[in-house]
Each structure stands twice: as C-alpha cells, then as structure tokens.
C-alpha cells in the first residue's frame, strides 16, 4: 500500500464518516430527549435524496402526500382533544402547523417550475417537504407512549421504519436515483485527488455540527432540550414542555437526515431501502458514544467510515462483517468501564 492509496482510502472514509456522524448525532439527540432508539433515521436520508431527485426531474415528490396525510391525521386527533377541552383558541395555531405547513409546501411545489430552480432552492424545498415528517411522526407514534419503557419505544420505531421503507417503494419505485454534484470535478492535492463533493460533505457536516453545538449552548430552546435530556421530570417542573422538546428533537433529526441524503446522493445511487444500512452505521457510531455523548458519537461514526473504507480494500467480501463486529468490543469496553445504572421506570 502506498501513500496515494492511503490518502484516497482516508478521504473516502472521512466522507462517509461525516455522513454517519450527522446521523449519529441525530440519533443521540433523539435518544437523550425522548429515549427513542430511532431506527427510521435512515429513511429520512433516502426520503431527502429521492425527494430532491423527484424535484429535479420536475415531478411532484410523493413524500409531500405523506406529509399532508400525516398532517390531516394529527390535526384531527389534536382538534378532537382541543374540542373536548373546549380550548377553541388552540385550533387556528394547530391548523396552521399541521395542515398549513405541508399544504403551503405542496402549493409551492405545484406553483413553481421546480425543475428549473437553482440547486440551493431545490434543497430548501426538499427539506421543507421531509422535515415536517419528523414532528408529525412523533406526535402520532411516540407522544402517546412518552412514558413507555425503552423496549416498547424501540418496537414502535422498528414498525415505523418498516412502514416508511414500504412507502418509499410505493413513492419512488424499486430503482435508485442520483442527483448532480454541488460542484463537479476534483482537484489535486499532492499525490491524491480530492472530489469537490467530498469537500462539500465534510465541510457542511462540520458546519452543521458547530451549528448544533451553538444551538444547544446558546439558545433557550437548545438549553431546554438539554435539560429534558438530563432529567425529564426536573425539566417539566421548570416549565419546559417535554412534548415540545420531543417534537423539536424529531424535527432536528429529520432535518439532519434529509440533509445527509441530499449531501450523499451525488456520490452514490440511493434506493428506497438504502437508508437502513446507512442509519445502522450511524447507530454504531452513536453506540460508541454510549448514546449520550455527542463528540464521542461523532468520532465513533468517523471511525466506522474509516474502518469501512480500509476493510473494503483489504477484504471486500467481509466489509460489513468487520464494520458491525466493531460493536462487540465497544459494548464490552463500555460495560466494563461504565457503572451500570438501573433505568428508572
């Protein structure tokens, strides 16, 4: 192995690792705030990528229908609750959030000539289509179970993963899609060639990670999320709505997932069922961080990316085996080094 191969493999590993890191951070966020092990995180990746592909093909992405349908159901459920409580004043705001947002996006998709828009606008539209799915799903599936054991939440999240993957096949068909690169081409750095898209992925991931850090550190909402993550009851006593925190964490997770999809789809072909494996690798990163530590999760995810890249060079047939076997020593190490705390139910 010479220096050039080493650099190329490293570049490849870092690029994939950056995507896994974004997903790992989203998983840690969702888990700490809501205790949900969010298996469908990968579906947001595919939905993001395939929605963008549909927009670029000048078609109305079918994901918007899902957003509208979920919005209608959530509106009905919440409206009935509000009517029973005679809290009529809640209705307009509710309608605006659950029905208004998806319908407005649908209106934009219908009204604009989406295929001719510039790439940044297309990406914004994609995010606007996919991101509302996060909080809507939380409201329907997880909010009624907010105090259920982790295992129940996990089972529900597996069910949602299955449903979203099946819908993905209906929406986008069995074949894969790729989107054009943010900027084509590559540049030579010493003995290696850097693809511009790889630079984009690593750069944007870094920016997002820093932004996330700022959000948690500087804003009131971010601090509220952190408080909920540390102690739900305590946070509630301080007047923080844990429901809102849950929805917010799902919104951020959906945004990050969809954006990862947008970033990665120029590099590789994505299929309706690609998300699961990508999400799972992010999950391995999150596990390395013990599902609580953001920096360790991000580093773990990058380690997964590098390991994947190097094992595909040395033993391509055993690549997945090597990557997923990593979880065993990590779990062993974690269970030996951390004090086990009984989960309070």
């Amino acid at each position: 192995m010479d220096l050039q191969i080493l650099l190329l493999l490293g570049q490849d590993g870092l690029t994939n690792g950056a995507i896994y890191a974004l997903l790992a951070l989203a998983l840690v966020l969702v888990f700490t705030v809501t205790r949900v092990i969010f298996i469908p995180q990968g579906e947001f990746v595919t939905y993001g990528a395939l929605t963008l592909a549909a927009i670029q093909a000048g078609k109305t992405p079918a994901t918007i229908w899902l957003a509208i349908a979920l919005g209608v159901v959530v509106f009905l459920v919440d409206a009935i609750i509000a009517l029973r409580a005679r809290a009529y004043r809640r209705l307009p705001r509710l309608a605006a959030l659950t029905l208004g947002v998806p319908l407005a996006v649908a209106g934009l998709l219908h009204g604009l000539d989406v295929a001719t828009l510039s790439l940044p606008l297309q990406i914004l539209l994609t995010l606007a289509v996919v991101a509302p799915l996060g909080p809507l799903l939380y409201r329907l599936a997880f909010q009624p179970l907010a105090s259920a054991p982790v295992l129940v939440l996990l089972i529900v999240s597996v069910a949602i993963h299955m449903a979203l993957m099946g819908l993905g096949l209906v929406f986008f068909g069995a074949e894969g899609f790729r989107t054009p690169a943010f900027s084509e081409g590559s540049m030579d750095v010493g003995p290696a060639t850097l693809q511009y898209q790889s630079l984009w992925i690593v750069g944007v991931s870094l920016v997002l990670i820093v932004a996330l850090y700022q959000f948690f550190d500087r804003t009131l909402t971010g601090k509220a999320l952190r408080a909920t993550a540390m102690n739900r009851t305590g946070a509630r006593l301080m007047g923080i709505s844990t429901t809102l925190a849950g929805k917010l964490s799902f919104l951020v997770a959906a945004l990050m997932g969809a954006f990862s999809g947008v970033l990665v789809s120029p590099v590789t072909t994505l299929y309706y069922d690609s998300g699961f494996l990508i999400g799972l690798k992010g999950f391995v990163g999150a596990i390395i961080g013990g599902l609580v530590s953001y920096p360790v999760a991000a580093l773990g995810a990058i380690l997964v990316g590098l390991l994947e890249s190097f094992s595909s060079f040395y033993a391509s047939s055993y690549k997945e085996v090597i990557v997923f076997t990593l979880i065993i020593p990590v779990l062993l190490w974690r269970s030996l080094t951390t004090r086990h705390v009984e989960e309070e139910e």
Binding site: L8, G176, T269, F310, S311, S312, S316, K319, E320
Partner: protein
C-alpha cells in the same frame, strides 16, 4: 319438477364446462422487494398476453412473491391446490424458482421459470423433469463476454461483483471460462448492493492494472463500480452483465457508464438487428406491444422472458390438448412433454430447441454484444 330441471341444467352446464375447460396459468413473480425492477415489467407483460390459445380460453392468475422464497412457495401451493392450475410460470429470481420447483414436481405441474441461473434446470433430475426456463443461462452470457475480451486483445482482467448469489454465480462461471480461454484474472472483489462507496475495491483493482474489468452486478447498483473506476482514471475496457439491461441503468449511470460492453438478449436491440436475423420479427412484435401500452423506450429484457414463456405455451398447448383436457393430470403431463419437445420455436430472445437434457434450449443466437453509446445500447457488429 322444477327442481329436477334445475339439476339437469346444472349438470349440463358442468358437462359443458368439462368439455371446454379453460386453461389456467398460475404466475408467481417478484413485483416488489429487491427484484422488483425485474418483476414489474414481467407483471406488465402478462396483461398483454393472448387470452385464447388454440381456441381455448386462458386465465392468468398473477401473484406477487415479494422476492421471498417462502412467499413464492406459498403462492405456488395455493395455485396448485386451490386454483388447480395447468402450468406455473415464475418466479423472477433463482432462489424463488428453486423453492417453487419442489411444489411443481410434487404436484406434477409443468413450470416455466424466468430466472437467470442454470441451476434452475441443471443438472437434470426427477425434480427438474417438470421445470423449464426462458432466460439465457449465465454461462451463455459469460462466454460471450470472454469471447469479446479475447478478440479485443484483453490479457488480464479484474472482477468486481455483488457479495451475494448473483455475484458468486457470475464469478464462478466467468472464472471457469476465462481460465479455459487463457485470460489471467488479477483481482476479484465484492461489494454490497446498498454500498455507498467502492473506493477500496477500485483502488485494489487499479493497483493490479487489468486490461478489462467485469462488473458482476445487476440493475442500477452496477453503476457504482464503473463510476468509481472512471473517477479514479481507469482507461481500460469495462464489461457489465445482462442484469443491467434496462432504462433505469442508463438513467442513473448517465455519462459514467458510456463505453461499457455487455451481452444482452436480441430483444433489447430489436430495431438494430439485421433484417436476416431470425429473431428480429418476434422481438419487434413484443417491443411494439409493450411500448404501445407503456410508452416508448419502456421495454426491457426482463418482461420479454415472460413473453417468451407465453410463446412456449402457445406452441405446446395445441399438442397437449390432443392428449387430455385442461384441468386434468393427463393434460399437465402432456403439456410437460410438449414443452420438452419444443423445436425451432422463435421467441423474442432467441430460438428454443428443448431436449430431455436441456430445458432452456437457447443457442448462441440468443445473445448479442452491445456497447453503451450516447446513453443507449448500440449493437456490436
């Protein structure tokens, strides 16, 4: 009295039914799941098939097995026990077809598979006695690739394929034939259908400096290795398998798959075939029918395998009708014998000549080499 008349009428109706029983064709294919891009055009094709053969009405019962062998077995059990089908067509993939063959043999129902691997009909035994298949064997296509390589001065070759049955099947066939033809294999790599990157494998291939690379993958996932090879500056020849021969591959691959060579059934380039090609007319007929229903450029090689199954039946059913009535054990046996006796039947993919040992029946007329040029398949002369 009235009741008696009714009884007589019912009996008469039953009798009439027995005399002119309809032919029932039970179909199980993979319209969803990983093989959906193959199964969907097959499913579309069944809607275009003739509804009468030799004056008898034909019923098609089309079930989806979701690319799952268990579901395929369940389907075929239902078709044979409840619907009492005369012949089974399916499934799309090799594992599903193998699972279905057990039930077909048990119930003594002839079966026509649309799967690629030779193991569906080879080696001949009591079970495969009942099984036929329409697509070309992998070995068939691998020979065409190796021939093309040797005539283009290729001495060393690398292989990168799926880490599953498809990739392994191709690797075995290709390695065997390449060795016999004195081609040197310098690298053999694997990747997953869902992989987001094959940089590691590609670098290893580049380090081995092969004259040509064969990508042993199917559908749009086959784009990734060729794209990465191009990105990393590989200048040699790239070969794909016939598993990529659909529009989606060209759409996703775009410029990155230009110049690739692959073997395909003649139906894929029906328009470009020379007029004296015996398959041209049959192939064009299918292409026209399919594109009339689903739009220009929508036709793929996979749906044509379903069409060819129907062509086999159109030739075998009249022969079998002489020996028994549809819905009976005798008819099924006669249909099997008639399928085995298929000689010089021109279909969209080639010309069938079945024998007791060969239940696929194609020869070299069932394949042509094409090159991807300007986003379309170009017949190699």
């Amino acid at each position: 009295m009235r009741r008696l008349t009714l009884l007589a009428a019912t009996l008469a109706a039953l009798g009439a039914n027995l005399a002119h029983a309809d032919i029932t064709v039970g179909v199980s294919l993979s319209a969803t799941g990983p093989a959906a891009s193959l199964g969907i055009p097959e499913k579309n094709t069944f809607a275009l098939l003739p509804t009468t053969i030799a004056g008898q009405k034909v019923h098609y019962i089309v079930l989806d097995d979701a690319t799952d062998p268990t579901a395929a077995t369940k389907n075929v059990k239902k078709l044979t026990s409840e619907n009492k089908v005369d012949v089974i067509v399916g499934s799309t993939t090799t594992p599903n077809s193998l699972a279905m063959a057990d039930v077909a043999a048990e119930t003594e129902t002839p079966m026509i598979s649309m799967a690629g691997s030779a193991i569906v009909v080879e080696p001949m035994d009591a079970k495969r006695y009942w099984v036929f298949k329409t697509p070309q064997n992998d070995a068939h296509m691998a020979t065409a690739i190796v021939e093309h390589m040797t005539t283009h001065g290729v001495k060393t070759v690398a292989f990168i394929g799926f880490a599953d049955a498809y990739g392994e099947g191709w690797w075995k066939e290709f390695a065997k034939i390449a060795e016999a033809r004195k081609l040197k294999i310098v690298a053999s790599e694997r990747y997953q259908r869902n992989d987001t990157s094959v940089t590691g494998q590609t670098l290893k291939i580049l380090a081995a400096k092969p004259d040509a690379v064969l990508v042993g993958a199917a559908g749009t996932p086959a784009v990734l290795p060729q794209k990465t090879l191009k990105e990393k500056g590989y200048k040699g020849l790239v070969y794909q398998t016939h598993g990529v021969a659909n529009q989606d591959f060209l759409r996703v691959g775009g410029k990155d798959v230009e110049g690739a060579y692959l073997p395909v059934g003649p139906v894929v380039v029906a328009n470009q075939l020379p007029n004296d090609n015996p398959v041209k007319k049959a192939a064009l007929e299918y292409v026209k029918k399919y594109e009339a229903a689903h739009g220009a450029g929508s036709v793929s090689a996979f749906g044509a395998h379903a069409w060819d199954a129907s062509i086999l039946l159109q030739h075998a059913v009249p022969v079998a009708l002489k020996k028994g009535q549809p819905g009976t054990k005798e008819f099924r046996k006669a249909l099997r014998d008639a399928l085995e006796g298929t000689t010089n039947v021109v279909a969209s993919h080639g010309i069938y000549n079945m024998t007791p040992q060969d239940h696929m029946g194609f020869d070299q007329r069932a394949r042509v080499m094409v090159q991807i040029q300007n986003g379309t398949w170009k017949l190699e002369k």
